[in-house]
Amino acid sequence: MARFNVYEWLTGLGQLSLMARDAIVSLLTFRITWRDLLYQIYFIGIKSQSVVIITGAFTGMVLGAQTFFQFHKVMMDTATLAVVSVSMCDELGPVLTALMVAGRVGAAIAAEIGTMRVTEQIDALRTLATHPVDYLVVPRLLAAHIAMPLLTLEAIAIGILSCYLVGVHLLGIDAAFLWQNALKYTHDVDVVIGVIKALIFGGIIAIISCYKGMTCPMGAEGVGRATTEAVVYSSITILISNFFLTLVIGKLVGLL
């Protein structure tokens, strides 16, 4: 049983890699339908606004409040925004945005492509001399690569802004020192780290969700399973890869 599971898992990983390779080759040879790409950017980017704004705002606020409660004990109130700003840029902004997008967009992608597979629409695409990767995966992958960094930047900015507002108006921290400290400890590189992570997470969400949809087992239950697995696997991959990305990018930044 265990051997079968490992075999299945490795086969899946191989197929996913082949699909990713196909998608990259297709991207490099510009087999893109611009209309589909624009629609996907709209779907992944614009339609995720409410989710990302709420995530960014409340994460910033709660992190600010909690940091303040702890720092207040050692009279470091004005360092609150600096802590929030660095953690939003480096970790929370990209990771939480990616998790929310995985839940919303990943599920939708897997369900849509899975239903297409079950109703033979993917076979129909193939008979109409259209490569499913060109038509279904590439626009979603590229759109996720474009939308995710923008969404992440938005979440970071809103998180910092809401922390500032809570700090100044609710917790009574001095606005000038709060802002000055934040600027002093947050560097350009923190924002760059956030954007790089967002780019990678966007790719992870799109590839895993498309793969789960394309290999969806037959039947309504199959579509349900593919959808759940797309969200779960994307989320887990994001969390695990985030740790390694932090180490690798940290090392690279240290070298620069």
């Binding site: 109703t119 129909a124 193939r126 008979t127 259209t130």
Partner: protein
């Protein structure tokens, strides 16, 4: 021309096809009949490379398509049109977008006006003029199959494959689909391969009948000869008589 030699296919431990041989000449209208779950659709999907066999060869115009990768197959598939059992229309698109899809994918060749004109002509051919703006969900089963057929013929393929075109339709709609298949065959001079278990349909649209039985092609003959056969297995299938040993309940 399509030729299949010693085709074998299993799903898991279950063997579906075991040594299938058949040859369909250009311009011929072949009907593949056989029992439900007997591997007819699986065989049809091998002809266009949607499935890869475990062994054997599939020659399309003398080119072996077995072992080709997906991109190589795309070129071969330009010769084919396929009508699916459930029509397989893209449900996020309108009828016009569905039918015009193969042309729109080749943007360099066709302008929007040309596509519109050809979509209208294709819909006219399948007796569904003026349905361009409808969504597939608004259409009946028979209408969907017609739209599926319009989508398959719009780029004028040389070979059209039909997967159970009349299954699930009432006799009158089935008859109109049969007439449509004949009309497409005669007007566009295409090779047709029809998979069905509808005997009436098989008799009308085919000029060669292949019977798939026991994972192999059991019989192949022109329809007159086939339907006059005295072979007990062929006869049983034509007459639709269940084997008493296989009935679930005692009569």
């Amino acid at each position: 021309m399509i030729e299949v030699r010693q085709l074998e296919k299993s799903f898991g431990t279950q063997k579906i096809l075991n040594g299938v041989n058949l040859k369909i000449d250009s311009g011929e209208s072949a009907v593949i009949i056989g029992r439900s779950g007997g591997g007819k659709s699986v065989l049809l999907k091998h002809l266009i490379g949607l499935l890869q066999p475990d062994a054997g060869t599939v020659l399309v115009d003398d080119e072996n398509i077995v072992g080709m990768n997906e991109r190589q197959l795309l070129r071969v598939r330009e010769k084919f049109g396929m009508v699916f059992q459930g029509a397989a229309l893209f449900d996020s698109m309108t009828v016009a977008e569905n039918v015009g899809f193969p042309l729109a994918r080749k943007k360099k060749k066709y302008t929007a006006a040309e596509i519109e004109k050809r979509v209208a002509a294709a819909l006219e051919m399948v007796d569904l003029p003026g349905t361009q703006r409808k969504k597939p969900a608004e259409l009946s089963g028979g209408m969907r199959k017609r739209v599926g057929l319009a989508r398959a013929i719009i780029y004028e393929p040389q070979i059209i494959l039909y997967d159970e075109p009349t299954t699930g339709l009432d006799p009158i709609v089935s008859d109109s689909i049969d007439q449509l298949i004949i009309r497409v065959r005669d007007h566009l001079k295409v090779t047709s391969v029809v998979v069905t278990h509808d005997m009436r349909s098989a008799r009308r649209v085919g000029n060669k009948v292949f019977m798939l039985h026991n994972k192999k092609i059991y019989a192949s003959a022109p329809p007159e000869e086939f339907f006059a056969s005295t072979d007990p297995i062929v006869r049983q299938f034509i007459d639709g008589v269940a084997d008493p040993k296989e009935t679930l309940f005692d009569p």
